[in-house]
Symmetry: C2
Subunit: 246 residues, 2 copies
């Protein structure tokens, strides 16, 4: 038996999220189906760094599983990709020690949220960007980013539908706003994330960029632990789980 | 009654091509359906610059139609976009004189073919690029482009399934190969095109880039008017009708 760690990319558009659900097309369901075919119909459970919602993408999601097939890393990669649909791609395979755990061992997770900031929509990017047609002030957004960084109770930036028990203190190591022409990417690196947290951070930053909120209001919004004070939840299709570091 | 000229973008992925067909989802069918709704269920025929195949996209397809609704250009644009699905977008509307004809008056058509030239596939571009994992020599491809330019009988670069009668002489005003990192775009501007012509030009240029064919062989391939001598037909998803000039 050996433990295998995979880095996987997926286009979340046509999936009902990552996590397996009956009668829905999910990323986990497709990957476990491929593994089952490779193991003579024996079920193999995968453990991912966490789930992603419907419409959310991944450039660098990570999962692990145990197998006795004894394949090389390269063979695993080729075999899995040959069995997976064209909206999932295994980018890297690595054999790891038995005590590696894709969820419990996460040190940093990086998300990116892509915004297309121009008057006209771009239909070729409709699944991968949030189109914001009102011009955004990126300098103000960057200032707001600096106010989100650090260790805080992020209740204000968490969906009230959350099922997370326990405290909502998380550490954001880096929050930045990268601009390239009409494209703006919100980059968020943290120790862990609450439900819808990156999308609520993005919605709030966009309201700062539009002048509806001020960057200096962020500390008070965090302080009051009230979801109603932060901005709207940005739509799912701009969000990418970018990188998981162990 | 006035004549309206529209510039339309579409993502060809989920269409059975541009031209209307019974029981298929087509770009023409969607646009004529939207116009019919605007005209109290009266059918309005549109005339495009030409058709595009299944999976082929457009940045600047042009069509015209006649209407007695007397809307401003801006109102037409908003009304049509509000009725069209999210993979069709009317980018511009212009009122033109009654003798304008979107097919007969075409002076130059520009197509672009997008290639992703890197070892690993990029699933976020799977609908908009041809992934070629063998490294391409772009200088040799550019030399081949220069040999395609000009006025020739392009029988060798036309599908044998063509239904075009009459001569196959066309003029290519510009054929070029643009590189930006791992992305290569084949740019072709011509007076008119035969069936599958840009995809066969692309397939041939890629074989030159791979070293399977030489740039100097192009004149002889043209000369012999034999489809079997040119390269493979590139897949549809990399092709964009880029611009139509009148």
């Amino acid at each position: 038996m050996e433990r295998v760690k995979c880095t996987v990319q997926y286009d979340g558009t046509f999936f009902s999220g990552f996590q397996i659900q009956p009668d829905r097309r999910t990323v986990q369901g497709e990957i476990e189906g491929a593994l089952q075919r490779m193991h003579r119909n024996r079920f193999i459970r995968i453990i991912a760094s966490g789930r992603t919602d419907t419409g959310v993408h991944a450039r660098g999601q990570v999962f692990h599983y145990d197998s006795d097939l004894n394949l090389s890393e390269d063979k695993w990669k080729k075999a899995l990709n040959s069995l997976l649909p064209d909206d999932i791609y295994i980018a890297a395979v690595e054999k790891v020690s038995d005590d590696f755990h894709a969820r419990f061992d996460v040190k940093v997770k990086e998300y990116r949220y892509q915004i297309l900031n121009q008057k006209e929509p771009d239909l070729f990017n409709r699944y991968y960007h949030w189109h914001v047609n009102q011009s955004l002030n990126v300098e103000n957004m960057k200032e707001a980013c600096r106010n989100i960084m650090g260790t805080h109770d992020f209740t204000s930036f968490s969906s009230t539908k959350t099922t997370i028990r326990g405290d909502k203190v998380r550490t954001m190591y880096n929050v930045d706003c990268l601009q390239e022409g009409n494209r703006i990417a919100i980059q968020v690196e943290g120790s862990g994330f609450l439900y819808n947290m990156v999308r609520i951070i993005t919605g709030t930053l966009v309201e700062v960029g539009q002048g509806k909120k001020k960057a200096e209001e962020i500390p008070a919004i965090i302080e009051q632990k009230d979801r109603a004070l932060a901005g709207l939840t940005a739509p799912p299709q701009g969000l990418f789980l970018w990188k998981v570091t162990y």
